[in-house]
């Protein structure tokens, strides 16, 4: 499903904000108008935390899938339930799909329409994920985008781009790095990066962690 699969999933015709999000926005609008808060510095602060808001949940999912073949099978078959086994159920009710990288196929996730993102497992989206250049180029030129991220794949590896929607969120299961036989889940977790689960990066190699 490269590109535009939105007809199926984006068929509701308006955005939805939860009651909580409405209240947060109401407060922020008022405080901004009264110049108590500056949305730019709010964004900057949030950006500081984006890397630590939750990708650790995704890290645990991936590390477990790497070390437990049964879990991996469940994860690929029904990611929503397999992830909720670890207690990170998507509280907004979105359906999770995990796609596996192989030597033949590399997967990359984008939301071409907005910034749908698997918050419960990956936390806050990085700023580039929401940017127009990433959203448009990921589909048109995924190999070029990967190159910008410093990732070069063999020409024989196909790149498939998965377009997130309000209802379906994708998580990439990267390939387990070689030379990690016998590693514990915690050790493996050290190798899992946020970008490797979006597909714009690869996991760290064993030599890169102490």
């Amino acid at each position: 499903m490269t590109g535009h699969d939105h007809d199926r999933h984006h068929d509701h015709d308006h955005s939805e904000l939860s009651e909580t999000e409405l209240r947060v926005r109401a407060l922020e609008s008022i405080l901004t108008e009264k110049e108590y808060v500056d949305p730019v510095s709010l964004d900057l602060l949030i950006e500081l935390y984006e890397k630590k808001i939750g990708p650790r949940n995704g890290v645990r999912v991936v590390a477990k899938a790497w070390s437990d073949p049964d879990y991996r099978a469940r994860l690929l078959k029904d990611a929503t339930s397999a992830i909720s086994e670890l207690d990170y159920s998507g509280r907004q009710g979105e359906h999770m799909v995990v796609i596996e990288n192989t030597p033949e196929q590399h997967n990359m996730v984008v939301c071409t329409l907005c910034s749908c993102y698997p918050h419960p497992v990956l936390g806050l989206p990085p700023v580039w994920y929401k940017s127009a250049p990433y959203r448009s180029r990921a589909v048109a030129d995924p190999r070029g985008v990967l190159k910008d991220f410093g990732v070069t794949l063999p020409d024989t590896t196909k790149i498939r781009v998965w377009d997130s929607t309000a209802e379906i969120r994708y998580l990439v299961l990267p390939m387990r790095p070689e030379g990690t036989e016998g590693w514990s889940e915690d050790q493996l977790g050290e190798l899992v990066t946020r970008d490797s689960m979006i597909g714009t990066g690869l996991p760290r190699q064993p030599g890169e962690v102490a």
Partner: protein
């Protein structure tokens, strides 16, 4: 207005029971981080002290627990948000009526915005 990691760390220390790790607060969803950052900004603007904040938040959490809140951490920022709303009203920054008016306007804006388009508030949303 300076709101950065140091302010965030101070807030995390001042706020009772805040979900955090060694580097500071941790969040489950974007709105939680926004609510957190707004409290920081209001504190920096002198609207309340961390002592006042901690008391108000503590009282809010107690109230919620008395009403059967499971107190698992999942609802922490719900209490945080309720505290923010109550404090800005108590301090005269705005009124609860005005908060409701803006909430309804955002609801209207969300309803008229197709999925994928950024939701923006316009004067028409207040009518």
């Amino acid at each position: 207005m300076a709101i950065g990691p140091q302010q965030a760390m101070r807030a995390a220390i001042a706020a009772p029971g805040i979900p955090r790790d060694a580097d500071g607060p941790v969040f489950r969803e974007p709105w939680e981080a926004r609510a957190f950052a707004m409290a920081l900004a209001l504190h920096e603007a002198g609207v309340f002290t961390w002592k006042e904040w901690a008391e108000a938040l503590g009282a809010e959490i107690k109230r919620a627990q008395a009403k059967g809140d499971p107190d698992t951490g999942e609802t922490y920022y719900q209490h945080w948000l309720a505290t923010l709303e109550a404090l800005v009203a108590a301090k005269g920054v705005t009124t609860l009526d005005n908060l409701q008016r803006y909430r309804d306007a955002w609801d209207h804006a969300a309803d008229r915005t197709p999925h994928g388009k950024p939701i923006e508030l316009t004067p028409g949303d207040f009518e």
